[in-house]
């Protein structure tokens, strides 16, 4: 099993870049990560870089253990970076930790609050920390998310815990919302509502969202950018439309999958009677394989699955 070619690309959409340059906001993006490294035993997050301009949603995708949660924890300074820089809303995330956190809304993959405390009391313990806290907004979200504020946290399902965490994160006018797998425990109906809420937030272009997920269909609906992490490295960080338009999935019989053909693909999945290969060179693939294969536009799911396998 070889490793697929890793290309580190960081880009913003042409329109976004132009606007950013015009407003002078480019160096003051919602999130700018550059050369960040972090190592644990058996895992290395290496030279990670990405840029999220204000007013956009970025989806962070990658297989389990790719480093998505570690990257989010680094942004929040929950774990210490070993190298590189992280600027949130133009400020270093370590030297301006408290200020930055008042402007970030964070939803962890597994919300953990004191289990014996009611949601009302958890909210009361949290709200005064945020100068921009909106009680009206919180009550509206609690109602929309069907939260019973008199219930103790430990009695809630995983999905309801996530909803509560979301209500807290969205009630203090956070300019950067960081969501770690927010939809993983949610039913499809609420997932759709959540995506609508997030889209509503982005009506105000000061707000930005970083959103890690396995459910790539959510990203196809909402994200402006996609960053793909694999084995602790950024494979690409590009505008979603560019990602989807660029990649193709080649499907054909196994008899054409020789060593030379394998080298053509960034990722290959073999089946009993055929194979699927991911390529960024769609036109070249058409010329090379002709009508022996079928070529479709790759979905984010295809890209994540095939690149995540890293096979040739």
């Amino acid at each position: 099993m070889g490793s697929a070619r890793v290309e580190k690309e960081v880009a913003v959409p042409a329109q976004g870049r132009r606007e950013a340059l015009e407003t002078g906001a480019e160096s003051d993006g919602a999130l700018v990560i550059d050369g960040v490294c972090k190592s644990y035993e058996g895992f290395v997050l290496k030279d990670v870089g990405l840029e999220l301009p204000r007013g956009y949603i970025m989806g962070l995708i990658g297989p389990n253990g790719a480093g998505k949660t570690t990257l989010i924890k680094l942004i929040l300074n929950l774990v210490r970076r070993e190298a590189g820089s992280i600027r949130v809303l133009g400020l270093d995330n370590v030297t301006h930790e408290a200020e930055i956190k008042s402007r970030i809304g964070y939803v962890p993959d597994e919300p953990r609050y004191h289990p014996d405390i009611t949601l009302e009391n958890l909210k009361s313990a949290t709200a005064p920390f945020y100068p921009s806290w909106s009680e009206e907004r919180f009550q509206a979200l609690a109602s929309e998310f069907e939260l019973s504020l008199g219930k103790k946290f430990k009695t809630l399902s995983h999905g309801t815990k996530t909803r509560f965490s979301l209500a807290l994160a969205l009630s203090h006018g956070a300019e950067l919302i960081v969501l770690d797998e927010p939809t993983s425990g949610l039913d499809p109906v609420f997932r759709r509502r959540l995506l609508d809420v997030l889209a509503g937030i982005l009506q105000d272009e000061r707000f930005s969202i970083l959103y890690s997920t396995h459910i790539t269909s959510d990203l196809e609906r909402t994200a402006d950018f996609v960053t793909f992490l694999r084995d602790g490295q950024v494979v690409f960080s590009r505008p979603k439309d560019e990602v989807i338009g660029r990649w193709g999935v080649v499907r054909g019989g196994r008899e054409i999958l020789d060593a030379e053909a394998r080298a053509f693909f960034e990722g290959v999945r073999e089946r009993e009677h055929g194979f699927e290969g991911l390529t960024s060179r769609v036109e070249a693939a058409r010329q090379r394989f002709g009508d022996r294969v079928v070529i479709d536009r790759a979905s984010l799911d295809d890209i994540m699955v095939l690149m995540g396998r890293g096979e040739r």
Binding site: A98, I100, A125
Partner: protein, 247 residues
């Protein structure tokens, strides 16, 4: 995680807004368990008083030890519930979090002492004399007991949670017997014991000397400054440990 100046600069009693909010938050999250602990504490006071023991400094020792241990409960509970990550996502620096823990602990110890004192005085058959319980000497002895417990346990509990108590106490409990066994094997037991006794006697002599040499107010100020210095050193160690903690 380098220290940063807190963004909430206004201070009351040396605490910024975040510190007060953190103490308030701890109260909201732990008021039931703290109230229950205080109830047990009060029951102990009633039983102690009923025993009619004329051992005032034993009362001070047990009361202050109880009060100091109660102060660790919010922190221990947060660690048990894995709530530290939540605390660290709030808009407060890690220094704010540690400072609030220390001030909150002292506040709670003071409240615990007041509750204990009130119950001990009001309980029928009480032998606790009010003038003794609020005497400066008694209060300083109490503050020393609370300080000794907090100074040693807080950094360890802040870094390791409840198991921090064991991280500290288990090696200590192993170290002393090992030292004595080694000293016995090497024939230096007598000299070790003599050194320990001499050390304790020197400490007592220094304190007595200070007490005799200084005027009463100066002596009290010196003790308070010493306790403050110990707490400050413990706080700095706790900050350094908490800065390294990954969540």
């Amino acid at each position: 995680m380098t220290p940063e100046p807190s963004h909430s600069a206004e201070r009351v009693w040396g605490l910024n807004r975040n510190d007060w909010l953190l103490i308030r938050r701890d109260w909201i999250l732990n008021r039931v368990s703290i109230s229950m602990a205080l109830f047990v504490f009060a029951t102990f006071q009633v039983l102690f008083v009923q025993a009619q023991l004329d051992l005032p400094y034993v009362w001070v020792f047990l009361t202050c030890m109880w009060a100091a241990l109660i102060t660790l409960s919010p922190l221990a509970r947060e660690m048990a519930d894995q709530g530290a990550a939540w605390s660290c996502t709030l808009p407060a620096s890690r220094i704010d979090l540690v400072r609030a823990r220390y001030f909150g602990a002292w506040l709670l110890a003071a409240v615990g002492y007041l509750v204990a004192l009130s119950v001990a005085l009001l309980a029928p058959g009480s032998t606790v004399v009010p003038s003794f319980a609020i005497d400066l000497d008694t209060l300083l002895v109490g503050a020393t007991i609370v300080s000794v417990i907090l100074v040693f346990l807080m950094p360890s509990v802040i870094r390791f949670g409840v198991k921090g108590v064991f991280v500290l106490l288990v090696p200590l409990n192993l170290l002393l017997p090992v030292v004595f066994v080694v000293s016995k094997a090497t024939g230096t037991q007598d000299s070790l014991e003599n050194s320990l006794l001499a050390g304790l006697q020197s400490l007592a002599t220094v304190i007595a000397g200070l007490r005799d040499g200084l005027s009463r107010p100066l002596f009290y100020i010196a003790i308070v400054l010493l306790l403050f210095a110990l707490n400050w050193a413990s706080y700095r160690v706790a900050v350094a440990l908490f800065m390294r903690r990954e969540l």
